[in-house]
Amino acid sequence: MSEIAEKVKAIIIDKLGVEESEVTPEASFTNDLGADSLDTVELIMEFEKEFNVSIPDDQAENIATVGQAVSYLEEHAK
């Protein structure tokens, strides 16, 4: 697993209070990991802070699963 994927996983476990085993690439924040809309906003903000990126709202809407977050950040992280 990439360093980015490891960090993403750690943030999700911390913010959503879920078990590590639940954080699979296919897991959806809202459908599988119990996030509501505010949790999702908070996750995006944490990703921005951790990886020093700015994720525009229209792109944030497309980040709904763990795998999508990792792919986006692997592409955009500085």
């Binding site: 913010k15 209070g17 505010l38 906003v41 908070e42 903000m45 802070k49």
Partner: protein, 417 residues
């Protein structure tokens, strides 16, 4: 229309003296001080370096981590005491109509720490706004009532009253009114506050409102003592279940006491100083007696606002003597803030509980830390100094007054069918 009777069927407390109602009463009746050096932040540069904090509070005992992170401490406190009170009242699914159960809470300030932290984060950044999405819903004072209703599914009237240190008493009075008007069967009421933060201590210090007796925190809150020098900031929460009497009877609820009156008034004088003659305090006690339709002579105990400030204590006592006349000498008066410190918007909740437990136990909790008489006070008055006093308490009154000149009083009576 005929007003309905309203009784108290459950209690919950999280206080500087103890984290349950039983522990709280134990501290009150034994004259324990809840004051100690501040642990919530480094107060070494502050004029006041002590407070009455809740002790041994572990959020993980009550919440999962994710849940706790989304609540400011004042909301966590609200949830903890609401749970104790709901359990105590034995409100279980099937014995109430959730659409007829309200939550009317009080908080003077709300999520002060959350507000402080978010502003500090922003100020330390480069101007890019990175406010947490939970910032507003953690900070706003009314969220406490929202959280309680969500947890239990109580769908009746739901809001929070804000009147500084009178907040919880306003919440209790509103709850009493809605129930006696037939608009709810049960209301979870009370208040919570968690303002022991840099902004809280610093702000009250700037007002010169706090005691600065750093060499002796436990004796700093000394209402009616000649050397009182301000209040001691407290934190915590209290919850009361108010219930329409027939409803309580039908489900076999235990009844602590009856709430028989609520009074409100304004000083219309100054934003922080009390009216020097206690005009607002005088009116509020007249109002509550009138509302309850009882004579001053029927009151046995007054749990006063009595914050240990030089001016406030004097004007409140003047008002008591005007309203109660000769009977003032037969009353027990005490300020439990001598032990708990001043819980601001939650004060009215924990002091209402103190008044109710005084009725239950026929014991008046003391005004501790009395060392030197102050000539401003009539020596014939019984301030219950230093040690609890046994006496029959049939009727107890609780006063709370808030910055802005808000005055509130409630009356509780021993329950007789």
């Amino acid at each position: 229309m005929e007003l309905k009777r309203v009784v108290v069927t459950g209690l919950g407390a999280l206080t500087p003296l103890g984290n349950t109602v039983a522990e709280y009463w134990n501290g009150l009746s034994n004259g324990v001080s809840g004051a100690a050096p501040i642990t919530r932040f480094d107060a070494s540069k502050f004029k006041t370096q002590f407070a009455c904090e809740v002790k041994g509070y572990d959020p993980e005992k009550y919440f999962d981590r994710k849940e706790a992170r989304k609540m400011d401490l004042f909301s966590q406190f609200a949830m903890v005491v609401a749970e104790e009170a709901v359990q105590d009242a034995n409100l279980v699914e099937g014995n109430f109509d959730p659409d007829r159960v309200g939550v009317i809470w009080g908080s003077g300030i709300g999520g002060l720490r959350t507000f402080q932290e978010e502003c500090v984060n922003f100020a330390n950044g480069d101007g890019t706004p990175r406010f947490n999405p939970f910032f507003i819903p953690k900070m706003i004072a009314d969220i406490s009532a929202g959280h309680i209703s969500i947890k239990y599914g109580f769908r009746g009237p739901n809001f929070v009253t804000v009147s500084a240190c009178a907040s919880a008493t306003n919440a209790i009075i509103d709850s009493f009114n809605y129930i006696r008007l037939g608009m709810a069967d049960v209301v979870v009421t009370g208040g919570s506050e968690a303002a022991v933060t840099e902004a809280g201590i610093g702000g009250f210090n700037a007002l010169k409102a706090l005691s600065e007796r750093n060499d002796s925190p436990e004796t700093a809150s000394r209402p009616f003592d000649q050397d009182r020098d301000g209040f001691v900031l407290g934190e915590g929460a209290g919850a009361l279940i108010l219930e329409e009497y027939e409803h309580a009877k039908a489900r076999g609820a235990k009844i602590y006491a009856e709430i028989i009156g609520g009074g409100m008034s304004a000083d219309a004088y100054h934003i922080t100083a009390p009216h020097p003659e206690g005009l607002g305090a005088l009116n509020v006690m007249k109002n509550v007696l009138r509302d309850a339709n009882i004579k001053p002579e029927e009151v046995d105990y007054i749990n006063v606002h009595g914050t240990s400030t030089p001016l406030g204590d004097v004007s409140e006592v003047k008002a008591i003597q005007t309203v109660f006349g000769d009977h003032a000498y037969k009353l027990n008066i005490s300020s439990t803030k001598s032990m708990t410190g001043h819980l601001l918007g939650a004060a009215g909740a924990i002091e209402a509980i103190a008044a109710i437990l005084a009725i239950q136990n026929n014991l008046v909790p003391p005004t501790i830390n009395h060392f030197t008489d102050d000539e401003s006070f009539d020596s014939g008055l019984n301030f219950t100094f230093n040690k609890a006093q046994e006496r029959e308490v049939k009727v107890a009154l609780s006063n709370t007054f808030g910055f802005g000149g808000h005055n509130t009083s409630v009356l509780f009576r021993q329950f007789i069918d």
